[in-house]
Symmetry: C2
Subunit: 313 residues, 2 copies
């Protein structure tokens, strides 16, 4: 078993991660890197693997060599649900970030084997107590939920594309999830509400018990029936590549909850510290590099730093 962060639970749970696996070419003001292992499922799984047993569902193509499989395996990620489609290459994305990292352009996008992907779950994955629906098409996210047996705590992420072209499917999906995670501009787009506090309340009225709005360098807000929680961002000074930050956040968040086998307000708040700490590592290097190699100790140290950063005393 690869290194994990300690849990206080006597019976830690495992989690299921569903999403894309991709190769990315990324251009930032600090340089350009090609053929990076990417995709929501990769970032989410690497992040959650620091906390709990992680089972990953996605699809890779005929160009996804053993080297990449081994990187996932070496973090202890269960790959029974990772489909291999020999008919073509893996999903490919090329993007460029602008000077302040607050805008990115997609320069190329080839769905490849991802185009026909259906997230069919292996029998052994169906009774997952914690489920992370990465930002794939909301109908595919719903298809995952349809296959689940037993009680699951479900976190769903999305992207602006689905808000724009699949709003109805997305609205139906979020009614079925426990925790919906979205960034600030997407929250405004989905609710039509510019005030972020009002947007959060509106999102909860759409169905999910809890909503987290991510604000990048300004932290994140949790909206829950028991109250509101504001978490600052980790004070990152060496931002290199923001790709996968949101996925790492979601993966660590649900991984931490699974490892403690809890989903109450206090546990979600505590997990957000781990999520923020983990995402802060991701953005300090291109792709998954820093996230993959950081180690559990650095994550715990950053959680301690976050607690100090927030402490009035």
């Amino acid at each position: 078993m690869s290194e994990r962060i300690a849990t206080d639970a006597t019976s830690p749970a495992h989690l299921l991660v569903v999403g894309s696996v991709a190769f990315d070419n990324v251009i930032t003001p600090y340089g350009e890197k090609e053929h990076i292992l990417g995709g929501a499922a990769s970032y989410c799984s690497f992040a959650s693997s620091y906390f709990a047993e992680t089972r990953m569902v996605g699809v890779v193509g005929n160009d996804f060599g053993e080297e990449f499989m081994n990187r996932l395996r070496s973090r202890g990620i269960d790959l029974e649900g990772l489909q291999r489609d020999e008919s073509g290459p893996t999903f490919f994305w090329k993007g460029k970030y602008h000077e302040n990292f607050n805008r990115r352009d997609t320069l190329d996008l080839q769905l490849n084997v991802f185009e026909k992907f259906r997230p069919d779950l292996p029998e052994s994955y169906r009774a997952s107590p914690f489920v992370l629906l990465g930002n794939i098409h909301p109908a595919l996210q719903a298809h995952v939920l349809d296959q689940l047996s037993g009680e699951s705590f479900v976190l769903a992420d999305t992207i602006d594309l689905w808000i724009e072209i699949e709003r109805e499917n997305l609205l139906n999906l979020i009614k079925r999830v426990n925790l919906f995670v979205i960034n600030d501009s997407e929250a405004e787009e989905l609710t039509g509400e510019k005030n972020i506090i009002l947007a959060g309340h509106k999102l909860r009225e759409m169905g999910p018990e809890s909503v987290i709005i991510k604000k990048g360098e300004h932290g994140a807000l949790l909206f829950h029936e028991e109250g509101l929680f504001a978490l600052p961002a980790f004070p990152v000074t060496e931002l290199r590549d923001p790709t996968g930050a949101g996925d790492s956040f979601a993966g660590a968040l649900l991984g931490r909850l699974a490892s403690r086998n809890r989903n109450d307000f206090t546990a979600i708040k505590e997990s957000m510290l781990y999520a923020t700490a983990t995402a802060s590592l991701t953005v300090e290097a291109f792709g998954c590099d820093r996230l993959e190699s950081a180690g559990a100790t650095v994550i715990s140290e950053r959680v301690d730093q976050l607690r100090k950063l927030m402490s009035v005393e």
Copy 2:
């Protein structure tokens, strides 16, 4: 004595506030209001008056009637240092906020008696243990410091105008202050640093012991030799007029410090909660209206809400 928030100090200190007094015409998406009592000194003093004995230095013109003097007096503000210049009207500003409140245009500005203003301190004001330099010309801020006798803890605020046209004077001034308060875009402008954490460190290297960067709806960051502190904003849902938010923040911050007669890291952090709570009231109505009438209880309640908002437990 007007209502104040309780202090744990056996000998609370008083504070000196120096800044502009103005009449404002304000246009926001919610309406238009004319002849509002405004100016940094007014907002700062109203805010600080909830915490500590406040002595105000500024200038008003021949149109500043008893009605306005009485509003200041009724909050217990000492007006010995408020100059009256019968040669013309009070400083006048007219501004318009755009839809998202993130941009404002100055439509009219008449310096009037403020043009010849020199902040000469009455003898009784010179030994002030806490001094708030509102966002006036940095040479005038320095003139105040030149008149002080004894040890003072000095907070200075500024605006983008002085960064643009009086950079040298401003850089000389901030070397002499203990706590420099600035907003995020001004911090970037003054340091040339886009990363807000690095900008904060650079500002401290310019001289002040402590720096607070205000981020509006995203809260505020304190940079201090003992560490970093991140405070979320109060979750305001009824933003009506942001004018004076920064001045109210500064006034409450220094007022709270004066009332506790402390200026250490922990005390500054605690005061930031009061500053944020007080500023959140200011922005819920046009001008000083809500700030003036809110009462100490509401401020304390909002501080409690902020503590809950930040609590991981």
